[in-house]
Subunit: 194 residues, 2 copies
Amino acid sequence: MNYLKERILKDGKVYPNNVLKVDSFLNHQIDPAVVNAVEKLMYEHFKDRKITKVMTIEASGIAPAIMVANRFNVPMLFAKKTVPSTLKNQERYHALVHSYTKNTDSDVIVSKQYINKDDHILIIDDFLANGEAAKGLVSIAHQAGATVAGVGIVIEKSFQPGRHLLEEMGLDVYSICRIQSLEDGKVTFVDGDE
Amino acid sequence: MNYLKERILKDGKVYPNNVLKVDSFLNHQIDPAVVNAVEKLMYEHFKDRKITKVMTIEASGIAPAIMVANRFNVPMLFAKKTVPSTLKNQERYHALVHSYTKNTDSDVIVSKQYINKDDHILIIDDFLANGEAAKGLVSIAHQAGATVAGVGIVIEKSFQPGRHLLEEMGLDVYSICRIQSLEDGKVTFVDGDE
């Protein structure tokens, strides 16, 4: 069992509607040991893919993404939910990202200046559930003509359709923890650990 | 001249109304060399302050903050602009942060669970201008009875009142780049570099 799974079992909290709260170590308070473990496993999996850039979406993807980018020694780029005053409409790529939790659509943007057709982009995010955020980032990479070299996820809710959706697009999805079920307040992983 | 100043002179862009755009290496695309330099200088300055936690505010503070927290080997905590569904009102500290750019007030929150009176908190942010974000983070630390061990800033607009406001509160403010002026589209640093 890897370190992330151990931390989920020790410190994660299961709430109704399949909510897994990991804000003590991943997406509010962040434990350096956790992002170090993420960085090492992501590097091990993707090291032969000629990664030129790591891409994520604000806010909780940023901490794991910068650590992974630092390990690969490539720039990290995060998609923004608000448009900076200095970035004109024709200077940006954008994608609509639907949130099932909030039932809202938000337009996320990336400056055209920072991705191009020669890039091999590693998409990193803290969670994969319905795949909406990752799909938005893939769309932005494709708008730039870039290659998506892979999608690296810290926690995947494998009972939701995100992985399937990304695999249908031909993408390599690597998740450090794959959760089979959160039923009855108990975390069960895909490989049988619980 | 430190590496950050060099990058500002090389890649920063000055816009009207004292806007300095550094989205090619600090707050949209992030260069690992930049956050590594930030981490080293922050550690050098604050290493004797018995730091127990690094605190910042989403989104662009997160990348430098996690790198600094990793160097100190302490948790990083970021204040959120939206309230998670799992965090009840009585379980969080909050502070109103005014944005002069957007002329809005936003309520930022931190879970009470992750700060306490024994903490020595290092506040990290990418920019210091009017000091509103830092002031909000100081207020949250004080609500928890914690000690603010210092405020570490990547880029300070020294012609705006943020530093003065924080120093009036007795805080040690350390900025890697202190900008004296952005007049006529030219960056001038406080120590005379330009």
